[in-house]
């Protein structure tokens, strides 16, 4: 096995380990706490009630929607604790891996990335061959694919309602405007 392919497999393995580590930290700090379990159960209960009332825009459905949004926001804040801890650990880990893999071509891309992505995919690599892949690009792709799948497999993924609400933080959440 050549060095480059060994690096490719090693980075996938590192990504799996860091995803499991992140979920482990989140489990210790968040998932196993009674507060989080209670909030999650409440969000699911409210979601089911709203499902039953889905077509009827009534005042009680509006109140229910607001209550659900409130619980989801609390869940997001509870998770923030673990996000800070993970961010801190991973900054240190990334510094270490970056120095280990600095200047190394870890894989060959079967395509030439768009110019604004080349800054990431060809980071700290010599030469003009943009099919050379740097550590950080492969690591980001692995994390994007592996982490969410691990969360779903372990049953730790945030509910779709919570994910939509978190996305709606910058603007009105999907259904809330109807009931305000």
């Amino acid at each position: 096995m050549s060095t480059m392919f060994a690096d490719t497999i090693l980075i996938v393995f590192i990504s799996i380990c860091t995803a499991l580590l992140a979920e482990g930290i989140t489990w210790v700090l968040v998932y196993r706490t009674d507060k989080y379990k209670r909030l999650k159960a409440e969000v699911e209960k409210q979601s089911k009630k709203l499902e039953k009332k889905k077509e009827t825009i009534t005042e009680s459905a509006g109140r229910q929607q607001k209550k659900k949004i409130g619980e989801i926001i609390k869940m997001i804040f509870v998770r923030m604790k673990s996000m800070f801890a993970i961010g801190f650990c991973f900054t240190a880990l990334m510094g270490m891996f970056n120095s280990i893999f600095d200047g190394r071509v870890v894989a060959k891309l079967p395509f030439v990335p768009l110019s604004y992505i080349q800054g990431l995919s060809h980071r700290n690599l010599l030469g003009e061959d943009y099919t050379d892949c740097s550590f950080i690009f492969l690591y980001i792709l692995c994390t994007m694919s592996i982490r969410q799948n691990i969360q779903k497999m372990l049953g730790l993924a945030p509910s779709r309602a919570a994910t939509k609400q978190a996305g709606g933080f910058l603007g009105p959440p999907p259904q809330a405007a109807k009931f305000s």
Binding site: M1, S2, M4, F5, T8, I9, V12, E51, A107, K108, L109, P110, F111, V112, C133, L138, L141, C142, M144, S145, I146, Q148, N149, K152, S159, R160
Partner: protein, 127 residues
């Protein structure tokens, strides 16, 4: 008489009724989906499976360039569209429309496809 294979797929619910397992519903035509999240999870995992299969094929062939990415997107979206509109015949409006079903798990499957494609391409054509 119910075969032993079918019996394994069926789980007795608390009220004495029979409840099909998720995967047996996923491969049955026009299955009844009690919970929306259950069907969305099926769509999500089918997307990941397609991503792995296409990543392997593209890496082995090899198929290179943005053509490979474009064909992946078309196949991924197209196959799942046929699955939920023709095979399962779900009411797309219940799930927020065709776009919501198309988006479900798409980015994760795209990243997974790229990783598998890169691994197989590097291993088979650049060593």
């Amino acid at each position: 008489m119910t075969s032993s294979w079918k019996r394994k797929e069926e789980v007795h619910a608390v009220n004495g009724g029979l409840k099909q397992s998720t995967w047996s519903k996923a491969i049955s035509c026009k299955a009844v989906w009690g919970e929306k999240d259950e069907f969305l999870d099926v769509v999500y995992w089918f997307r990941q499976i397609i991503a792995i299969i296409l990543g392997v094929i593209w890496g082995v062939a090899p198929l290179k360039g943005f053509l490979g990415i474009a064909i992946f997107c078309v196949i991924n979206a197209g196959v799942l569209y046929l699955y939920f509109s023709s095979f399962q015949q779900v009411d797309e409006e219940e799930y927020g429309g065709t776009w919501e079903l198309t988006k479900e798990g798409f980015m994760t499957s795209f990243a997974l496809f790229l990783v598998v494609w890169i691994i197989f391409y590097t291993a088979l054509h650049y060593d």
